[in-house]
């Protein structure tokens, strides 16, 4: 399969500001502007030279409104990915990379901002797309409940024990406790607190659910050649894919494989277009909006199987530096913070630069999987050298 993107585009700068929910000292646009400027300063590129902007998941910050504060000289790409959730995260990188690789743009920022009270919460955005009278007539009005219904089927159909889910949570909090930027930094995570937390919708308890922070994150993408002239070590985008295949999508819970999270066609395209496979992935950043969906996303990418899940999902196997399947090295959505997933893409860049709080020795490739609760999903592979 042709891959016109492989190694053509690189992440050159990252910027993130994160606060406790409802704790941002600026409005949403103010936080976002600071994150974009930080990403540009990280790269050593004038923010006025950014000519493209891509977001996802119903971000409300239109690029033209950012122009006066960034000093934008010319806006050439102003777009967002369809779909109400974090499923569009890596689709935003695909769009940005297509614009750069084809010469339509020179410097594109992928961003997401969230300040409570400005643009509302992601669950509201997901609901607006997905939840209708068919759901609410059955008492289902939130993504958590829909993911719970799917999680229950995963647990029953695949005999997935709660103990395996806990391993993912423990790994996230372990990494988060060692990351100064994480909400869980310095905290000892108590598994009993997790086990005894209140039910949200069975089998999901409170700490199975990502909880939103205020903040904004931005990643600056430029051509690979351009990146080599900037301040940081380039992190190349090898491939990104978004979509859904027949039998999957917004189908009123009638997806053909109900325990899937829809990643199979996405992963297939990543492998076909890079010549890589699951065994070539050194570290994974997983969008675990809900724990079970994170596990299903690992299955969808072929990193584990339902049959091997109990064996593969072991704390020691999931943590840096020694695990064979290190994931969410910043703490992930659960323990680093949740700005609708942008943090996990930023961690991919930092990990491949050698700047992670939990470095994976000699990591060359990083898989980033987008929001698995969405009808449309996306993933990408980043690398610090072109294979």
């Amino acid at each position: 399969m042709a891959n016109g993107l492989m190694g053509k585009v690189a992440a050159a700068g990252v910027g993130v500001l994160q606060y406790k929910r409802a704790g941002a000292p600026y409005g949403e646009r103010g936080v976002l502007t600071r994150a974009i400027v930080a990403a540009c300063e990280d790269a050593g590129l004038d923010p006025a030279d950014v000519d493209g902007f891509v977001s996802y998941g119903d971000d409300h910050n239109q690029p033209d409104r950012l122009m006066p504060e960034l000093g934008t000289k010319e806006l050439r790409l102003s777009t967002a990915v369809w779909g109400g959730g974090g499923g569009g995260l890596l689709g935003a990188f695909e769009l940005a990379a297509m614009a750069i690789a084809t010469g339509q743009c020179k410097a594109v920022v992928v961003y997401r901002a969230l300040v409570q009270g400005n643009s509302g919460r992601l669950s509201t955005a997901v609901m607006a797309h997905h939840v209708n009278n068919h759901f609410i007539a059955a008492g289902m009005m939130s993504p958590a409940q829909i993911c719970a219904m799917r999680a229950m089927r995963m647990a029953l159909q695949h005999n997935l024990p709660q103990e395996s889910i806990e391993q993912l949570v423990l790994a996230d909090y372990y990494h988060g406790s060692r990351n100064p930027e994480a909400v869980s930094y310095g905290q000892q995570f108590d598994i009993e607190t997790y086990r005894n937390a209140r039910w949200i919708a069975e089998p999901l308890r409170l700490f199975d659910c990502s909880r939103e922070n205020d903040g904004a994150g931005a990643i600056l993408l430029v051509s690979a050649e351009h990146a080599r002239d900037l301040k940081q070590k380039p992190v190349y985008l090898l491939a990104a894919a978004i979509g859904a295949e027949k039998g999957w999508g917004d189908l009123l819970e009638n997806d053909d494989d109900y325990t899937s999270t829809g990643f199979e066609p996405i992963a297939r395209r990543l492998w076909e277009s890079t010549g890589l496979g699951p065994k070539d992935i050194d570290v994974t950043q997983l969008y675990e909006n809900f724990t079970y969906q994170g596990v299903s996303s690992l299955v969808g990418h072929g990193l584990i199987s339902w049959e091997s899940a109990v064996e593969d999902l072991k704390f020691d196997n999931l943590i840096a530096p020694s695990g064979k399947l290190p994931l969410n090295t910043s703490g992930g959505n659960l323990a680093q913070g949740f700005i609708h997933g942008i943090n996990i893409a930023i961690e991919a860049v930092r990990q491949l630069r050698g700047q992670s709080a939990n470095p994976v020795p000699d990591a060359k490739t990083c898989l980033v999987c987008g929001g698995p609760g969405s009808p449309i999903n996306s993933s990408a592979i980043f690398a610090n050298q072109i294979p």
């Binding site: 007539a137 008492g139 009005m141 089927r153 039910w199 189908l251 819970e253 009638n254």
Partner: protein
């Protein structure tokens, strides 16, 4: 039933009309025989427009379930905790429908035979036609 109005409404309008009149009706394509759900205005399998609606018995099997404990906004009229089930309908091509569950919660298990009755669910200040599932 005002067929003219239903045709110009969303594809699933006949479902809601039938449910509000105490019947379950689902869509089956007269071109290829496939049960289509969610409702569509064109069968994506064979290209036939306006698949026909057929009465379906309220019998199913439990495909999955969840018990909601968090008092999500709008669900006050249901009252937590409550169980929602996703039921497979074998006589409608194994299409799945959601509904609140009434009955012994210790019986909840995959493939539990279910029968349904039609009721309404209070959500916010609306009463929405709805299916209640209970053990057969």
């Amino acid at each position: 039933m005002d067929y003219e109005a239903l045709r110009t409404g969303p594809a699933d309008a006949p479902y809601w009309q039938a449910l509000s009149e105490g019947r379950l009706e689902m869509q089956k394509c007269q071109g290829c025989g496939k049960w289509t759900w969610p409702a569509v205005s064109r069968c994506g399998e064979c290209g036939t427009w306006e698949p026909e609606w057929h009465a379906v018995e309220l019998k199913g099997k439990l495909f999955s379930w969840t018990r909601t404990w968090h008092p999500f906004a709008g669900t006050e009229g249901i009252g937590t905790p409550y169980v929602t089930v996703l039921a497979t309908l074998p006589q409608a091509g194994d299409r799945r429908l959601l509904g609140l569950y009434e009955g012994n919660e210790s019986l909840l298990a995959l493939d539990l035979p279910l029968v349904g009755r039609i009721a309404t669910t209070r959500f916010g200040d609306q009463d929405i036609p709805a299916i209640r599932w209970l053990p057969a």
